[in-house]
């Protein structure tokens, strides 16, 4: 898995605990460019 994608996932991990004035209970974000090895 590409480093950028891992960083991306980490950002979402942090997001999950920092919600305050939110709108949604869950989501699924589809991205391109997940590098496979």
């Amino acid at each position: 898995m590409h480093t950028r994608t891992l960083t991306f996932a980490l950002g979402l991990s942090l997001l999950a605990v920092s919600s305050a004035n939110g709108q949604v209970i869950s989501g699924a974000m589809t991205v391109t460019g997940v590098e496979m090895h």
Binding site: A28, M29, V31, M36
Partner: protein
């Protein structure tokens, strides 16, 4: 491994954030990051955008955002011409739109019919694709998608 460490550090259930990689089409393929708010919490899409922006994803990486699908809970108002979902426990709302596919149109019509029959005060759960959340890095990150936020309804159910 790093993600597990983050989950421990911030007391996040690691099962609530997952990167799903469907079948490998080529070296560069799609991936879907599923996430879920902690119990009693709501995720702010502005913060989501900020979080993605903070990754500093740049051009030339053959990567981008394909779509963002969200699920929100609230009550529907506004009638069938321009229904909106008023988020429970929040002042936020989404404008709800009918999609183009057969499944999307069916979900939207079912939502309108249910609200027409049962009234607008009931709590519902709407799933949909957020309009404007798509594109290649970094252009998709440069500014917040327009407001009011619109979602193209892909699923609907009366909340238990």
């Amino acid at each position: 491994m790093a993600r597990e460490a983050t989950a421990r550090l911030y007391d996040v259930d690691e099962n609530k954030v997952a990167l799903l990689r469907p079948k490998q089409l080529d070296r560069y393929t799609h991936g879907t990051i599923k996430f879920q708010a902690k119990k009693g919490k709501l995720i702010d899409l502005d913060k989501l955008h900020e979080s993605v922006w903070a990754t500093r994803l740049s051009k030339g990486t053959r990567s981008g955002l394909v779509s963002l699908e969200v699920t929100a809970v609230g009550s529907i108002s506004g009638g069938s011409k321009q229904p909106r979902l008023d988020i429970a426990r929040s002042n936020a709302f989404f404008l709800l739109q009918k999609g183009k596919s057969k499944q999307e149109r069916a979900a939207f019509e079912r939502m309108i019919e249910t609200v027409r029959q049962d009234g607008q005060s009931q709590t519902v759960r709407v799933t949909g694709t957020v309009d404007g959340w798509g594109g290649v890095w970094p252009s998709v990150l440069k500014k917040l998608p327009r407001k009011p936020r619109r979602i193209i309804v892909t699923g609907f159910q009366v909340a238990p």
